[in-house]
Amino acid sequence: MSRPADLVQGTLDLLILKIVALEPINGWSISQRLTQVSRDVLQVSHGSLYPALHKLEQEGWIKAEWRATENNRRAKFYSLTRSGRRQLEREAADWKRLSAAISLVVQLPEN
């Protein structure tokens, strides 16, 4: 297993919002989905995942609900609120601007 890339500060919220936006999903599945989608590049430890989830919930961007899973276990499912969707758009736009800017800098020709 390769060493996971350190997440840029503040991008975890964006990633979680994005994953949660797809469908209501529980905490463990979020970490799995993140790993899958990023082809094993992004791995988030539960030590960061759950505090981030709970903070987002306290902010009112996502909301949690106890539901049964496919194999009939009770799990906490997170879904995006309307204000969360707005927040996701904002953060995604910010990220695009930031990464484009960083790309510009990184691609500067060297002598």
């Binding site: 905490g27 539960h46 030590g47 759950y50 709970h54 909301k63």
Partner: protein, 880 residues
Amino acid sequence: MLRLERWRDRARLRLRGLLRRSSVEQDIDDELHFHLDQQTAHYVAGGLTPEDAARAARRRFGNPLSERERLRDIDIPFHIDLWWRDVRFACRQLQRSPAYALVTVVALAIGVGANVTIFSFANGWLVRPLDARDPGRLVRISGPGGDTMAAGGIDDEANILPADYLTYRDRNQTFAELAASHPGGPTRVRWQGPPEMIPVMWVTANYFELLGVPGALGRPIVPADARFGAREVVVLSDAGWRKHFHEDANVVGTSVVLNGIPHEIVGVLPAWFTGTYAPMVPQIYRPIPERGGTLAFNFRLQLIGRLGLDVSREQAHADLNRIAAQLTAGDGSRRAIEIYPGRNVVPFMLTPLVALTALFGVIVVVVLLIACDNVAILTALRSAARTREIAIRLSLGASRSRIIVQLAIESALLCAAAGLAGTAAAFASARFATQFYAPVPMPFALTFKPDWRVVSFAALASAFALVLCGLVPALKTLKTDLIGAVRRMPAPRAVQEGLVIAQVALSTMLLITGAALSHSLIGRTTAAVGFTSRGVVMSSLALDGEGYGADRRRSLIDDVLSRIERAAGVAAAAAVANVPAANNAPVKPLVFRSGGQQHVVQINLVSRGLFDTLGIPLVAGRDFLPSDDRSASSVGIVNETLARQFWAGAAAAVGQTLADDRGGLVQVIGVVRDSEQVPARDQAASPWLYRPIALDPPGSPTFLLKPSDAPRPLLGLVRSTVTTLDPDMVAYNVMLLDDRLLLGLVVIRSAAIASGAMGALALLLGSIGLYATMSFVAHQRRREVAVRAALGASPAQVRSLLTKQPARWTTSGFVVGLGLAVLASFGLSRVLRGVSPWDPAAVLLSAAAIGASAFISTYLPARRASALDPVATLRDGMEA
């Protein structure tokens, strides 16, 4: 919308975190367990044995306890431990400035306490329904003008004739029940001891059934008690039982003698029932006997009805008016019915009580505003002094919200303490006020029940104070320029100026109106009454009831009078039906004709010697003689106003004859100087006719004694004289006439005293605020002062430097306050007729008081500043 939704979600989460901590923790545990189980299952699917998988998952997870702690801190943001820590922190902060804490709590406690007191009385008067089961369906019924003071007169047509009551009761189709009562006069009551005079409340036999009042001991009055041949029974109110029957638990079944006739006490009523005649408190209830379909009763009644199910007040009103029209068709005399809601207070007392409450309500709200202003000043000063501390905490990473919470907790603690102290003080003062029984015919008591409304009001008033004086300055504190604040103390702010001016203005307004009100109200109590009451002793006798016919009364009055006028220490003595100016038992006015005109003439029945006793000069003719008293001859003495209205004047009046509109003739034998016979009348003197008391000897005559020297030894004279004549007799109202005259004005006087006291309180609060501000300003400017002093400014120059600004503030405040007082005076003269609160003397007095207090509160700090050693001050400043 979006924002609102988000706030709602967040608030719900936080509230849940705060209130249901255990469920939040349970959720966290469940969530983490689920994660662990999923991870294990994932490893098992990858080929590990279940044991290895579980171990691997746990290893990867780390310490679940610390994880749980972290999540809990996120989910329970306003943790109860955190609150507790903040409370202790706030206590420590307040301990460090005890003077601030004390002044704040005392000022707010005064403001909250005054408001709670007034509210609790208003609550009793305006909101409280009759003490009864299901009071919502109860109404009060009266004749025309039932809500005017006239209805307090027992003969007034606002009250309903007994025969009419029976007709209403039996013919109505809208009431489940209709009961009546009549406040009787003082009655001779003897029970295991000497007789006492106690007012009695007459009630129809269905009265207690209608109200749903049971007996606390024994039983209430029941319909069987009114039947012909039933035993004579009475029921005691809780107040009466405590006051006159020594709270005797075995009182039921004993016999009590009312006006010479034994009655059985069949019950004591519960304490929650204060009667239906509030603020008067009945002591003993007697059934109005009903015989052969009529009430054996001669006095007009006050009615209470219980509406039938689904009957509106309007329907009931129409129903009763229909019956009234039938009655009018029968006897030709007009009737009208009025219906009032079933409030605790009798309708005719409501208007004066509302006026009084409104007046004091406004005053206490202003007092609370002043107190809040005062505390806002102190808090702002303290915040200014704490700017540095707060700036340091902010720069060390404390969030603004945390600091707001902490400051708010400090304010909340102070306001809670003030709220509790104020409420306790209000309850104590209200209890004190309710214990006050004015010895008017029926004991008068302010009822006060600290119910949930009063408690919520106290909480509300404290919260109002909290917002006004706590949160606003706290929020201000946070608009702090961090770097600037850490480096140096901030300059005093402009807001301070506004607060001080507002404070002076409000204090001035209250002081002026308070002083003016006291001045004009106390003025009324000492206004000349046209006779000398000083030293005169009064005692009334009750000659009502069985065995006291007119002849017996006539001879008893004459016997008592003959004995007391010869007694040692008596200069003059007289008997009267109605005590002048006290107006305790008014005699019905008569109409006399003169030259085709009709004049309403006030009447009093008096014995010989009255004008001598009260020092009313006889202008012409002669006084009554003993023979006039005994033979009830048709003679009379008139006052100068009457003599002027009917004839050319005093000299012409003697020997003339007055003819009343029923053909009676009265020969005028004398003319006396005008004297004010009825208190608090602002109109011109009325015509008065005095007739011999023997004409119609009253049931409750009053004897007046003028002492030759000290009055006190004469207090027992009538009582002892009466006892030798008739051992069953009792004298009451035994007191100095001066004391009695003051009693009549006791409400007005207490209002005057209270408004004066509020003004003084306002001044005190205002001075505290001003003094604190000036001390702070002087402290802030001490370096500037030191530099000036070092450069050669004299102490006087320094003082004037420091006092110039506050002098300007005080002056502006006074001018604004004066304007407010003028506005208030307009309002006041509408509420209280005959009171002119615009009073130049009060303005001058208030100006002097405000000026003096402002001078002291600015001069002292200024003098302290000018006395500082400039070198030491400057050196301190360098080191700081």
